[in-house]
Amino acid sequence: MKKLLEKFAAPLLLVIAMVTGLIACSTSPTQTTSPRSPVSTTSPTSPSVISSLNGAGATFPNPLYTKWFDEYYKLTGIKINYQAIGSGGGIQQITAGTVDFGASDGIMTPEQQAKAEAAFGPILHIPTTSGAVAVIYNLSGIASGQLRLTGEILAQIYLKKITNWNDSRIKALNPNINLPDQPIAVVHRSDGSGTTYIFTNYLSKMSDEWKSQVGNATSVNWPGDIGAPGNAGVAGQVKQLPGSIGYVELAYARQNNLPWVTLQNSSGNFIEPSLSSTTKAAEGISLPDDMKIMITNSVNPEAYPICGFTWLLVYVNQSDQAKGKALVNMLWWAIHDGQKFTTPLDYAPLSNEAVKKAEAQILSIKYQGQPLINP
């Protein structure tokens, strides 16, 4: 018996040690010491030269951010590592303090905001560009932009209350189109996404029924038929399924020549999705100072109704002077010079009003109470 104990004692101890180790590792990430804790002040007198910044978050602006950070590296020699892990991941990372900035297509919820502010103080939503969500369809013989819908009818379609293309309400909007007697197959994103957030935000604004039954989030309880992964998945489904309707990012619809719906905006005008009608959504409207606004169903009469900003999430109080300075310079560049890279990549540039608000936000970023950049 003693021999047996001796034989197994060492490995057994090892197992126990490893299991406890694993458990210890699994405790919440906020408890681990973070590299950018505001308490630790590193040499306030001489800011060392910083060579890299880390960011993580939204996938929607990833092509633009990749281009930006590449251009910015050529200009300044500062390398910015961006991981497109999704908006939810970006919010988690910035809350845990493992990155210098987060990125999100959606506004942080009050709970998320409270959690982040409890850790590192106030956090900013700085807009970088805006995008639109195009509603695409598969109806033979009906060209892109010909089909007209209103937000209310779109909500009814996605609620499965309108189930056939020859429904009288759709016919009334499209007297010149020969709509087929064909069931509508509703396609949505199966993965959580900022695109879904903007789309469901719009539907919630347009339909009380949608708001109470389904609501607004990156992933919702869909009444509709088919879920497909990613823009490519939704587009693939809609392309091959006659009578289907779906939604994808405008950039994706443009690059793949998908036929899109012309939507009625809040002024009653029917608007096709485009970069200019997306930028218009943030023009001539009152924007809040914190820029936490969903610009869906904009009051601008020329605006396309399903648009949204995408934001970088940055703490007001920077714990490292050199890093803070590099970050602020990069942000300033992005909302000014960086905007010229938006249109070629099918993103909509910020409106002048949005740039003004973003400037004020960037100027408010501080290191030990001192601003990091002068206007």
Binding site: A10, V15, I23, S190, T218, S219, V220, N221, D225, Q240
Partner: protein
């Protein structure tokens, strides 16, 4: 120390052979020889003997530790959801991140149903192919065909998923589903609009993915049947069909069950290919045409953007459920194999 066969400690079979075949080597010489060689390697040999078993024991323990770690962490992370929903998690059909109400039933149902469809299609196909490859095929077909079957098993699932979405799904929509809907539409199994994507497409994709694995393992099991069994059957005047059905299949049935269970385990956990063709709708319907979801595809789709303790906890609890399902499948398989091997093989 107990007595060991003297030849045992010699370095290699070859050496034994030389010693034995050496005509001048008398038994006494042999003994002297082996004592000498045993002395020269005794120290390192004993040390190795001491270390090696412990080393392997540590490796084995490591595997168990990883298993324990997975279970513990799944439990801890799922706790918020377990506390919130309790047993109702398994009966609820909700998946509503906005109001934080979650249930697992449609995902469990979808996982089991799609795997079941996959097995129904794959079992006859792969057992048939295995019989052909091991018993009937001419020699020049056997090895290339077996190689190709194994190659099929190595295709990454995302590629099969893409093929499924662009080739299989349109084919299932029309003609398969429209035909089934026309002729058998009175059954609730074949009702609803033919979207193409759905349980049927997922089941067929799974069948394609698990057929190679079941075929390869069953073929190996059949090849392991001793030829004496076959010869005995032939000697009794059996036909080839009788030989296969009465001698080969009963003899290797535990191997066949093992093959099917391996396939089932892959089907239950398959993620990418299924996500692409199942339609990802969180519904509980009897129709095979209906879009549905599986546990693995639900987790993969929503985990990256999930926020909030309850939402993430629910996804982790789904993972725990999948873990338990696979565990149960394996236990049942073990019991089945055990029962079958203890039951006497039927006489002729």
């Amino acid at each position: 120390m107990e007595w060991r066969d003297p030849l045992h400690i010699l370095r290699s079979e070859k050496e034994v052979h030389i010693l034995r075949s050496d005509k001048t080597c008398k038994p006494t010489d042999l003994r002297e020889n082996q004592i000498r060689s045993a002395n020269t390697m005794s120290f390192s040999g004993r040390l190795g003997d001491r270390i090696f078993p412990r080393l392997t024991l540590i490796f084995a323990a490591l595997l168990l530790a990883i298993l324990a770690g997975i279970i513990v962490i799944l439990f801890l992370d799922a706790m918020p959801a377990i506390k919130q929903f309790g047993l109702s998690f398994f009966g609820s059909t909700d998946w509503d991140p906005v109001n934080e109400r979650f249930g697992a039933l449609p995902a469990i149902y979808g996982t089991l149903l799609s795997s079941f469809i996959g097995l129904i299609i794959a079992i006859p196909l792969s057992i048939g192919a295995a019989i052909f490859l091991s018993e009937l095929a001419p020699a020049w077909i056997r090895s290339p065909a077996s190689f190709l079957v194994e190659l099929l098993a190595a295709i990454p699932s995302v590629i099969i998923g893409l093929w499924g979405l662009f080739i299989l799904v349109p084919f299932i929509r029309n003609p398969v589903e429209s035909w089934l809907g026309d002729k058998l539409g009175f059954l609730s199994l074949f009702q609803g609009p033919p979207f193409g994507v759905g349980f049927l497409a997922a089941g067929i994709i799974l069948a394609i993915m698990i057929t190679p694995i079941i075929t390869a393992v069953s073929r190996d099991a059949m090849k392991a049947v001793p030829d004496t069994q076959r010869e005995a059957m032939y000697a009794l005047g059996a036909t080839r069909w009788e030989m296969i059905s009465r001698a080969v299949l009963p003899y290797c049935r535990s191997g066949l069950i093992g093959a099917v269970i391996l396939g089932l385990a892959r089907a239950l956990g398959e993620t990418m290919a299924v996500t692409m063709v199942i339609g990802n709708s969180y519904k509980l319907t009897a129709s095979l045409f209906s879009p549905g979801t599986t546990i693995a595809s639900k987790i993969a789709s929503e985990f990256s953007e999930a926020s909030g303790e309850i939402f993430i906890g629910s996804l982790v609890e789904l993972a725990l459920v999948l873990f338990v399902i696979t565990l149960l499948v394996n236990i049942v398989a073990r019991l089945l194999v055990w029962r079958l091997t203890t039951v006497k093989v039927e006489g002729i």
